[in-house]
Amino acid sequence: MTAPARHRLAIYWAASCGGCDISILNLHEAILDLAERFEIVFWPAAMDVKYADVEAMPDGWIDLTLFSGGIRTDENAHLARLLRRTSRILVAFGSCATEGCIPGLANLRPIEDVVDVVLGQPTVVDADGTWPLMRLSVPEGELRLPALEPTLRTLDQVVAVDYRVPGCPPESERIAEVLGRLGAALDGREALPPSGAVLGAGDSTVCDECGRARSPKRIDRFARITELGSIDPERCLLEQGLPCNGPATREGCGAKCPAAGAPCIGCYGPAEGVVDFGGRLLSAFASVVDADDPAEIDRILDGLPDPVGQFYRFSLAGSLLRGGRRAAGPSVAAGEPELVAAGASLGAER
């Protein structure tokens, strides 16, 4: 019997911090198994392969692509389409690709505001008001910066996605599981998971894998961790008044944060069956507020000074309202034509 063929693997980062790539590297020795089983054909974080090389690949030539990061620029969107075309299996990898993550919070404001914060209010002395030059001709050719899209989109808002791996970042042990499972399927030893499946995580919530003791909850105040004198090491953090996102968050991380005394922030995304992460979580919080009187309810809810940041920290771009009413749309493009892709809007580009 011959050794199984090595499958072609691509790993790409769009609008991400690179933490997902680091989590892959954190496989430690297991990364040798990865290299044995997969031939890495494209991984900008670790090796030098040009986009032109990917553009030259035939359709479906790559067996498996792990795509991390959201779609923030036209370059991101181009690579999403390119890797969709050249990949048999495209995996939205990590929180940014699956639900927008922290960069998706920019959808709370119009893109002009984002540009203004980054470039219009420099934190260094900038008497000339320096602004990026979007195109520049040099002897070797023309250089061009990618244009911003009006909103940050999740990968599946741009191209069809086969599987999702949640987490900010996905835990390395879970990554090894996912690569093992998909590798076995590519070998033909196992069936592929059902299309659209969430891999590398369970179906239930972080509460179900959290070791803290739970009892019926009645919360008379929400507090920041610094406002509590001490934290009971055994008891549910939410019962102690810490806004813990465990009740809506998918299990898979091993409940590391609550075990360490820090509330869950929800980086593993919505549990199975949850339509809108923030909706589910605010429902869970509100149900246990210990007050019947509107004024008293208000006082307790004042303990959550940033509800959107609490309930949608990782999931805003992928939520039902995508970021809200102030998010940018086609009307903005006129303001910053050189930075914002003209005509690009949610789902409008074809």
Binding site: A77, H78, P294, V308, L320, G329
Partner: protein, 187 residues
């Protein structure tokens, strides 16, 4: 794909010729406010037809996702109606609904949706007139605010990716993607 609400007759404020008719989703409780609406009907009490009622067993059944989905699908406002405090058929569920309402309203406000677009009304089964009056007032409020003008289109192809989901062999798209248009040169 998200279902879209009927939007015929809707218009932007600039097209003042056609009056703006808000689409309002009203969630009712089976035991009180739905019967109040029924009473308003049998008593021939008039209220604007902009409010589309959806009956739940209790206002406590109102999952915040229902409200978010209504807004995402094009509603200009959402009304939660239910029993008066102390009168809940399920003892205290309307109070839990109140707490969720207050927290959801804070979230919606931060997302740019005015509080007047998400209101609550108490109505017992005998209060058909009060319910009709409340709906009349809310429709006027929302009419004054104008359409919920999303700067992005949440309902239309937004929900669908640029390329269709067709299982594990997305080979039906052989043509190369068009490279992005380069931005204009600016000095």
């Amino acid at each position: 794909m998200t279902a879209t609400l009927p939007t015929a007759g809707r218009t932007s404020p600039t097209e003042a010729a056609v009056p703006f008719e808000p689409v309002i989703i009203g969630f009712t409780c089976n035991w009180c406010s739905y019967r109040a609406a029924d009473l308003a009907g049998t008593a021939r009490i008039k209220y604007p037809p902009n409010v589309r009622l959806i009956r739940l067993m209790c206002s406590g059944r109102l999952d915040p996702a229902f409200v978010l989905k209504a807004f995402a699908a094009g509603a200009d406002a959402v009304v939660m109606t239910g029993c008066w405090p102390e009168d809940c058929h399920y003892r205290v569920q309307n109070v839990k609904a109140l707490r969720r309402f207050e927290l959801l309203r804070r979230v919606l406000t931060d997302l740019g949706i005015e509080p007047a677009r998400f209101q609550r009304v108490y109505a017992s089964a005998a209060e058909g007139q009060q319910l009709a009056d409340a709906f009349t007032r809310i429709v006027a409020d929302v009419r004054a605010l104008g359409p919920l003008d999303w700067r992005v289109d949440l309902a239309d192809p937004a929900a669908a990716p640029d390329e269709p989901v067709d299982g594990h062999e997305p080979a039906g798209k052989p043509e190369a993607p068009t490279p992005p248009e380069p931005a204009e040169v600016t000095a």
